[in-house]
């Protein structure tokens, strides 16, 4: 479906880690599993494209019949005019049929892209275990896996349709031609073999060049994103010229690699098309020899010329098949990195993707299970970072209604402690227990309604503020109360559209303090037994922070585990843990 395939992404930014030159040949099996998820869509496509590719053979046949009857039109029966009407008709019907086929194909195409996307996102967001290390690199880089890598794999499924269609048409064409002139037919088949060989021979080099070009591109786009993200620092230091010098060097590097890659791709493509055209020339040579022994008719030449054109398209698809499958070998590995222990294309527990109707409404969150918090206890909790730092054998207890504050130096491990308790980072040793019962998987267990979390640098998503706070949580009238507790009520009232205001990078930009308070509202609306709050002071001024704490702690029964340096908060604390180099060095009880 060359003409209907969506344009490949302009830049494959972020795919800079494609070092894996010898990726195992996994794309064929992967595409097979993907296709098997919805076999009907693939089979219908197969039938459509086979018909689409084969009809020109019929049209060519009718042209041959017409030409052979120009000078010897039989009286009555199937005349040259009948043949021409038939030729026009089959082609016209073929093109009208294309419309139906294309709509069906586009549905299948979206399906092939959606299945791995949904499985990857499910794995990243819902798989039990720590949240760190789920993305091999930045989120921007990971998006290229949802866009470019699923694209590459879907392209394999797609090219199979074309190869099958063009292949079947070629076989039929060659069979018909062989009844006319066997030697010329064999000559016509030669180009397919030649191209297939050339693609194989060039494959490793082409791939290496493609990877180099993509890495160079990623280096450029990454640099642009970084420097404009850090414009203030560069501006105040007058570093503009230094930045441009570096940009120029990266650009030069990229141009050389991109040029090599693009020319090589063009060579492969033109090899395929030239071999097709040259095929006609070769057939003519063969027919010239045949003409010594017998008469070569115009119909015969017309038949060969039109069929060789059909057969001549096959090398291009064979070449694409090889190229796409090799590209997808890398992609399959990259997709699988996001779904450790499972297959992103055919997971152990497949989920419906509901493309036709859209998904059913989100399931209500789990109801409270009666295990209301009495006591949360961490014992010997240890979590180390690769680059050093982390926490070491930390003990911690939070009882219902208590406020426990963690304080300490920068890099002492305060945030890590909170995240280890919640299971967001992997603990290498120690236990977390809830009401005396050890929690096997804190990341699954310490979620609303048991616990909710306000990160130090929260992320607010681009959607109406109400949705950004609720995140699918049912609004049982608690939304406004949460907004009020988080001291966001005045801000919301000032917004023209109130809670319907679209916020985030694609909406109204909130200030750092507003984001932090919205994140607090997000946690509070869940009415958690345990509220876990990382340092609020980084974006809130003292007065606002104090007011927020006053409102939150004013609620009866609020149980809080927080990182804070503010004495005002320390004064309200039942217990203050001082952390130093990952150890609790002092516990101040009230």
């Amino acid at each position: 479906m060359s003409q209907d395939t969506p344009a490949p992404p302009a830049t494959s930014a972020g795919r800079d880690d494609l070092e894996d030159r010898d990726a195992p040949r996994r794309s064929v099996g992967a595409a097979l599993r993907l296709v098997r998820g919805d076999p009907a869509a693939f089979l219908i496509g197969l039938v459509w494209w086979t018909i689409f590719w084969s009809v020109p053979l019929a049209a060519g046949w009718f042209l041959t019949v017409a030409l052979s009857r120009v000078d010897v039109d039989p009286r009555g029966g199937f005349t040259v005019w009948h043949a021409l009407v038939a030729m026009g008709a089959v082609e016209a019907v073929r093109w009208l049929g294309l419309l139906l086929g294309v709509v069906q194909w586009n549905g299948a195409w979206v399906g092939w892209n959606t299945v791995p996307r949904v499985n990857m996102l499910r794995s990243v967001l819902l798989r039990p275990g720590p949240a760190t290390g789920r993305l091999p690199s930045s989120s921007g880089e990971a998006v290229s896996r949802f866009r470019d890598d699923t694209f590459d794999l879907a392209l394999v499924c797609d090219v199979w349709l074309d190869v099958t269609g063009a292949g079947v048409a070629s076989v039929i064409g060659l069979a018909v031609l062989s009844t006319v002139d066997l030697r010329a037919t064999l000559v016509a088949a030669l180009p397919v073999a030649v191209t297939a060989w050339a693609v194989r021979a060039m494959a490793p080099r082409l791939r290496a060049w493609r990877l180099a070009a993509r890495r160079a591109t990623a280096a450029v786009t990454g640099f642009v994103g970084d420097t404009f993200g850090g414009i203030l620092a560069l501006r105040t230091a007058g570093a503009e010229d230094a930045v441009l010098e570096r940009f120029r060097a990266l650009n030069r590097h990229r141009a050389v690699r991109a040029h090599r890659d693009q020319v090589a791709t063009a060579v492969m493509r033109s090899l395929a098309s030239a071999v097709g055209e040259a095929g006609i020339g070769l057939v003519l040579l063969a027919l010239a020899f045949s003409a010594r022994r017998r008469a070569v008719s115009v119909g015969e030449v017309a038949l060969f010329a039109s069929y060789v054109t059909v057969i001549g398209s096959l090398p291009r698809w064979v070449a694409s098949l090889g190229t796409y499958q090799r590209q997808a070998d890398v992609s399959v590995a990259r997709l699988a990195e996001l779904t450790p222990g499972d297959d992103p294309l055919a997971p152990a527990a497949p989920v419906p993707i509901h493309l036709r109707t859209g998904p059913p409404p989100l399931e209500a969150p789990p109801v409270r299970d009666g295990h209301a918090l009495v006591e949360l206890r961490a014992e010997g909790l240890t979590a180390r970072h690769e680059q050093g730092g982390g926490i070491d054998r930390v003990d911690l207890v939070v009882r219902r209604g208590e406020v426990v504050v963690v304080t300490g130096e920068v890099g002492a491990g305060k945030s890590t402690l909170l995240r280890a308790v919640l299971g967001l980072v992997a603990a290498s040793a120690g236990t977390v227990s809830w009401n005396g019962r050890p929690v096997d998987e804190p990341s699954e267990f310490l979620v609303p309604p048991r616990a909710a979390y306000v990160p130090q640098v929260p992320r607010l998503f681009s959607e109406p503020l109400a949705d950004a706070i609720l995140l699918g949580w049912p609004d049982g009238g608690s939304l406004w109360e949460a907004v009020r507790l988080a001291c966001l009520d005045a801000d919301v009232t000032a917004m023209p559209e109130g809670l319907a205001t679209v916020v985030g990078t694609r909406g109204v930009r909130l200030s750092g303090g507003q984001v932090q308070r919205a994140a607090a509202a997000r946690a509070l609306v869940r009415e958690p037994d345990l509220l876990v709050v990382d340092d609020l002071s980084s974006a809130l001024d003292t007065a606002t922070e104090a007011e927020l704490w006053r409102r939150v702690l004013g609620r009866t029964g609020a149980t809080v585990l927080a990182v804070s340096h503010r004495p005002a908060v320390h004064r309200r604390a039942d217990r203050v843990l001082v952390v130093q180099r990952g150890r609790v060095v002092e516990v101040r009880e009230r």
Partner: protein
């Protein structure tokens, strides 16, 4: 900076002007390469006629060989064109990229605040990519296909004007069908792209907030959103397919019927002896020869629209003018400078609420001014105006007695360093992060010393790659460590004036204490403005300014203010209340 070109064509012309000689040669080569295959059907016709009239095998072999040679030579020529075109496109594209980057880097900060880095990647790379792709391959294809179609029509007419006229008619009808129906597809394509960009944007945000989602039990919500977007994409893409392919289908039908009509006409002509049998075949092949190029021309016109849209955005970006430009000079002298604000009034938005109202301050050379006040009271603005990140609306800011607007920006920024609360880090080596890609000149020895001075020596020693270690974004540094690194930058810059903007607000007391010595050294011999919430940070201030709602409500020597029980500063200092910060 030269004036930005205003029209697309001028921009495209300017884009290719330095390459014009090469472009000329490429176009010539291209025309030859695309006209050559037109001889194919003629050779085929001669072959058929020769075979029918039982000409010697040598003639047939010669014709077959000619066909083969034409096919091979045309393809080789096309490859040569591709080689050259891609090279030209990249050279010109990179020139434009660099021009855009240079321009954008100098635009005002409010402009940057309203353009996310992702958007700028699109402007500086994505749009240029569309242009380079267009000039690199699509222009060649577009020109080539147009030449091919025109040539096929001319040759058809030359074979027989009646049959040729029929070929022209068929081609024109197919073009009309494609052009007429193509406009149907454009809104549908836009709609699909819109859905797609929402889908990817949403995925990127969710992936960036894994912890936010998981710890708040909202993972399922994230997946649900993807399903909703995917179903929307399914609908949009199918809708687009019908509309886009309606054009192809109708053109295909027109073509199929037209081919039959042309061949029928040719048959009638042959029977009257006007053309040869082989010419029927040649005409049939010409009709078929133009079908695919016609479709491609339609596709490439779309590419051209994309490229033109890219160029328009590029031109718009180049048309943006920074309001903060170099002053005529000369720069103030070296060393610590007096800093004066003289009746300064400033609002971030024109006509908006002023962030500074008639502020007058004077800091003698070498003195340290501590600025206190609530968040949003204007403390941060004060520092930004001194570094001339914004221009004042009224009044003047003077360094060493020279108005900052009268100084070249590069000179001004050599004299002043700003340490902001949000430290900006780059995915580059430690060395590049500290020296800002070499803008601050220092050898490794000096870098190590400076990093040690600010308390990052131990951290540096732990990095396997040392100064060459890639910082890969902000992942490897805690917020406090990042702030220490920003201080190291200020040390390297060695300016006469330092603005420490809430530099210690994220640091815990112990780290702050470690910093005091280094900061004291940074401040000594320099004029400094220290913006802070905390009184502890202000111990080394000679002067104090209390800011409220954009106005300086109190200022004077710290000791005098502290000693005056009626001063706000003294009141806050003793109470340690919220206005200044409640640190002990």
């Amino acid at each position: 900076m030269p004036d930005a070109p205003t029209s697309d064509l001028r921009l495209l012309a300017g884009f290719l002007r330095p390459e014009r000689r090469k472009v000329g040669a490429l176009v010539t080569l291209l025309v030859i390469a695309r006209l050559l295959p037109l001889a194919g059907p003629l050779v085929l016709a001669r072959f058929v006629d020769s075979a029918a009239s039982r000409r010697p095998t040598g003639v047939l072999l010669g014709l077959a060989g000619a066909y083969l040679a034409i096919a091979v030579v045309a393809e080789v020529l096309l490859l040569a064109v591709t080689w050259g075109a891609v090279e030209v496109a990249w050279r010109a594209g990179n020139r434009l990229r660099e021009r855009l980057a240079a321009h954008a880097l100098r635009l005002d900060l409010p402009w940057h605040a309203s353009h996310a880095p992702g958007v700028l990647i699109e402007r500086v790379d994505g749009d240029v990519e569309a242009v380079t792709r267009f000039t690199g391959s699509a222009v060649a294809d577009l020109v080539g296909n147009a030449v091919l179609v025109a040539g096929a029509l001319v040759v058809s007419v030359a074979i027989d004007w009646r049959a040729g006229a029929a070929v022209v008619l068929v081609t024109a009808s197919a073009v009309a069908a494609l052009a007429g129906l193509r406009s149907l597809g454009v809104p549908a394509s836009d709609a699909r792209r819109e859905v797609e960009s929402k889908l990817y944007g949403d995925v990127e945000e969710r992936l960036g907030g894994i912890e936010d989602l998981r710890a708040n039990g909202a993972g399922g919500y994230g997946v649900h959103r993807l399903l909703v977007h995917s179903a929307a994409l399914w609908r949009a893409q199918r809708r687009e397919a019908v509309r886009i392919d309606a054009g192809y289908a109708v053109a295909g039908v027109v073509h199929a019927l037209g081919t039959a009509a042309v061949v029928g006409l040719a048959v009638a002509l042959e029977r009257r002896g006007a053309i040869s049998l082989g010419s029927i075949l040649a005409l049939a092949r010409y009709v078929q020869l133009v079908r695919r190029p016609l479709e491609q021309v339609a596709e490439q016109l779309q590419e051209m629209q994309k490229a033109a849209a890219g160029l328009r955005r590029t031109a718009r970006l180049l048309g943006e003018r920074p309001s903060i430009v170099d002053g005529p000079g000369p720069a103030p002298g070296a060393g610590a400078l007096t800093v004066e604000l003289d009746g300064v009034t400033f609002a971030y938005e024109r006509g908006g609420k002023p962030a500074m109202r008639d502020v007058t301050l004077r800091i003698p050379a070498g003195a340290v001014l501590g600025v206190v006040g609530r968040t949003g009271s204007g403390k941060t603005t004060l520092g930004r105006l001194m570094a001339r990140l914004w221009d004042v609306d009224d009044g003047a800011v003077r360094l060493g007695g020279v108005d900052v607007r009268d100084v070249p920006l590069a000179d001004l920024r050599r004299h002043i360093a700003v340490v902001t609360q949000d430290v900006e880090l780059f995915r580059a080596s430690v060395r590049d992060n500290v020296t800002l890609f070499g803008a601050l000149v220092a050898d490794d020895e000096r870098l190590r010393t400076v990093l040690g001075d600010v308390g990052l020596g131990e951290w540096l020693a732990r990095l396997p790659g040392g100064l060459d270690e890639d910082l890969a974004g902000a992942d490897r540094l805690s917020a406090g460590q990042a702030q220490l690194l920003a201080l190291a930058r200020a040390f390297l810059a060695d300016p006469g004036v330092v603005v420490l903007d809430e530099a210690s607000s994220r640091l815990d007391p112990a780290t702050e204490a470690r910093l005091v010595e280094a900061t004291d050294r940074l401040l000594s011999g320099r004029t400094a403005v220290v913006v802070a919430h905390r009184l502890a940070t202000l111990d080394r201030a000679d002067l104090i300014a209390v800011v409220d709602d954009g106005a300086v409500v109190e200022w004077g020597p710290r000791e005098a203010l502290a000693a005056d029980p009626s001063s706000r500063f003294a009141a806050r200092a003793s109470a340690g209340t919220a206005l200044l910060g409640d640190h002990p």
